[in-house]
Symmetry: C2
Subunit: 492 residues, 2 copies
Amino acid sequence: MYPPPLSEEQGLWLASSVQDWQINHGFLLKRVRSQSAHSVLCCPIGVTLFPTPFPRAQFDEALNLQSIYNELYCAMTEDEHWEIHQDVKRVGGHTQNISCGIFRLDYMLQGDGTSKLAIDPADGSISIPQLKQVEFNTFSCAGASHAQKTVDMHRHFTRTGAYNSLTNGNSPVGLAALPENNNIQSLAACLAEAHALYGQAKSKVAAETAVLLLVQPQNFNIADERPVEYALWNQASPVLAYRVEWDDDLLETTSLSKTKELLFHPSWLQSQVPIEISVVYLRAGYEADEYDHVGKRARVRLETSRAIKCPSLLAQILTFRKVQKALTEPGSVERFLSPNKAAKIRKTFVPMYPLDESQAGLRARNWATDSDVAGNYVLKPSHEGGGHNVYGADIPDFLASVARSAWCAYILMERIHSPAVYNVLMSPQGIGSGPVVSELGVIGTCIWKKTTEGSEILSNTVAGWSYITKHTDVDEMSVLKGYGCFDTPLLY
Amino acid sequence: MYPPPLSEEQGLWLASSVQDWQINHGFLLKRVRSQSAHSVLCCPIGVTLFPTPFPRAQFDEALNLQSIYNELYCAMTEDEHWEIHQDVKRVGGHTQNISCGIFRLDYMLQGDGTSKLAIDPADGSISIPQLKQVEFNTFSCAGASHAQKTVDMHRHFTRTGAYNSLTNGNSPVGLAALPENNNIQSLAACLAEAHALYGQAKSKVAAETAVLLLVQPQNFNIADERPVEYALWNQASPVLAYRVEWDDDLLETTSLSKTKELLFHPSWLQSQVPIEISVVYLRAGYEADEYDHVGKRARVRLETSRAIKCPSLLAQILTFRKVQKALTEPGSVERFLSPNKAAKIRKTFVPMYPLDESQAGLRARNWATDSDVAGNYVLKPSHEGGGHNVYGADIPDFLASVARSAWCAYILMERIHSPAVYNVLMSPQGIGSGPVVSELGVIGTCIWKKTTEGSEILSNTVAGWSYITKHTDVDEMSVLKGYGCFDTPLLY
């Protein structure tokens, strides 16, 4: 049986050993409300006590699909049909035609819903699960650093015999079943490559170039963001990297040169000359309320500067559900990819419907407002990248609370039903075992250049992966919100 | 001026950047009262914001002295004059004649008291400081892992230009001025070497051997202890390492075989056969209240077993102040070391006096009870390794509160007056700048064998160092108690 049932003593031992490993390896969340000038509290981030089974074939398939998805999104970003490209052309063109993207494509397994996922393939009740896309994140993707720490942790407990001993030698957890993960270096390498492509400082005033990481104020996910910053300094050829907050901090510490270079000159980096920013890595600016007066000024400064954005405004727009839905329409993917590649991508789509007054929209409205069938769907705002979904049985009431004229701002997506497996989840919210489902995130990094024909891909890499697991009776997957837990796929 | 005065903004930036580095690198204390089954809080341990100047000549001298001190203590441990050796002989002899030690010798600089320690040697007011021994710790020495993280941290802020920028390019902090530190690997290597010397399992029931780390229950210093445990697993030739608490945990998870091997069989390590313990690394059992009924049984089991103890009971006794005082007497060091080596050692002693009714004791009593001169001394319990000292002006009142007949249980030691330097100290207790003094700890590891002639040293290594700094108006140096902060010597 997997995972093995634990006696109370065993459970306490494993839980506290895991917490100690997390503390020792910076696998933590900062408790920002506790922050004072001289101290701050932190606690272990949510993790699974055991790795969760996932079929190796689908894991490999997901990794193999990523370069195709990268290609698709690079091409879409620079597609001339976007109005914003016309607008920019009218005002003189882009200052920087190179862009950088760190994407994460999330998948869940679609089973046939009838059976648990058992490890023994000889069991005739096993269904062959299908990889289905939950969403494609193009902006401020989190979790990469934590994902790497997770697999290091599960490897440690595998290697020290903890899992084996708890199963009396019958554990299926072996090192060969836990995939490698080098996310932190992959992300740093992508930013370093973009930094190198930017080249020497171009402004007359700066001597050095650096990567700028933009983060939210009062940020608690520093243990996911900072490792990339430290890794940049630790590259064989060190890349300078600095961090500022998406608020007055950014406006006060940067300025544009006459020739549009983004100059950086914080008071705590008292040098004679400013530093020129080669790459801006955005880990902020993804929520509507960040675009107050200060936020808008900040974004305009960045977008009009010569710095390479990771990602640009256009790549951010591509994370909207509306785009995800548009891609499900016949012919849309095929505009950008060969038929063969397009077919592989389409296989991972689940049906998505508008909620406007088109024929498809009206039909979808029937489903969404019908308590008997609403459970098969997820409602997602069209013009967002995630975080405000409404699930299943909650949809009818939610739509009843929203003006009908506003329904067209939403998309209805078929829910993905994953076969349940079992695990023990531990987080600041509590610890408990039971049926769980997981989301596999594949991380892709790419750098591309806008050309007269569209786009030229300069770098297209499958950077790594993340794996998040939640109890089946919880709708949301977010670890930072306290629902999901970081996990490692136990490949079989 | 060093360190540079910081504006409020600069101070906040540096403090929070340091805290983030600490969180990311497990440079933390666990807040044990917050521990639940599913979560726990932790916070950054006390550190200095800048490295503190220390003369390179004295740093090198301290490191060079360590192998001599190691030799002295190995020889003293097995000296036949100890009654306990006679006792053990009477009951059949030692089960294990190999012992292991992880020692830490703490020094402070003795200045002439007139001037601050300035970095520019051209300044004629600089006194030549002398290395003076505060104490020699032979048991459960803490801080090694944290010390290594401290220098990594200060190196990071040096490398990223933080210190340089804050001094407008005039910082004396360069990487070459910050010494290397590999404490964690050094400690693991020592235990791994002892483990290898132990050899194959000797009991008929065990198949594997492992190192056992003994820790206090409700332990909050896991970020100093666990790195050594993880490092053992990470050796090129992995060494199994397990952790148990010094309480019923130890008694229930271990037993002695018929031939005195120490067998380990916790419920969370369900193997068919027990594991045989090669080396016991004690990070507990150093306080009197740990020797209740359970504690005594625990210690007897360990000492009578075939496992190599790090350290043995005898080595623990050598940490007592009484021993430190005895070594100051003429001829004592010379019993164990060549005249040349003995002279180097003696140079680092400060005068120590008994408080018994001998002539020297009565004279010392006069000083200790005289408010005018008591400030020049520290009162230390003879039969302890530290932590219950009474300082300077507090001594007369303390002695007045203790029965005169009990005064002979104390030692009076001349206080070491270090030249003050300046730094900013940040800990859970607060943040503040001002005059500070530091303690340099040199870590030595050794393995020795008891022979008919005395002892044979099998391994004698200078493993590394630690550096703790406190405000001058504070008496105690302990970081765990919230007084001192981890630091890096800025060598000049």
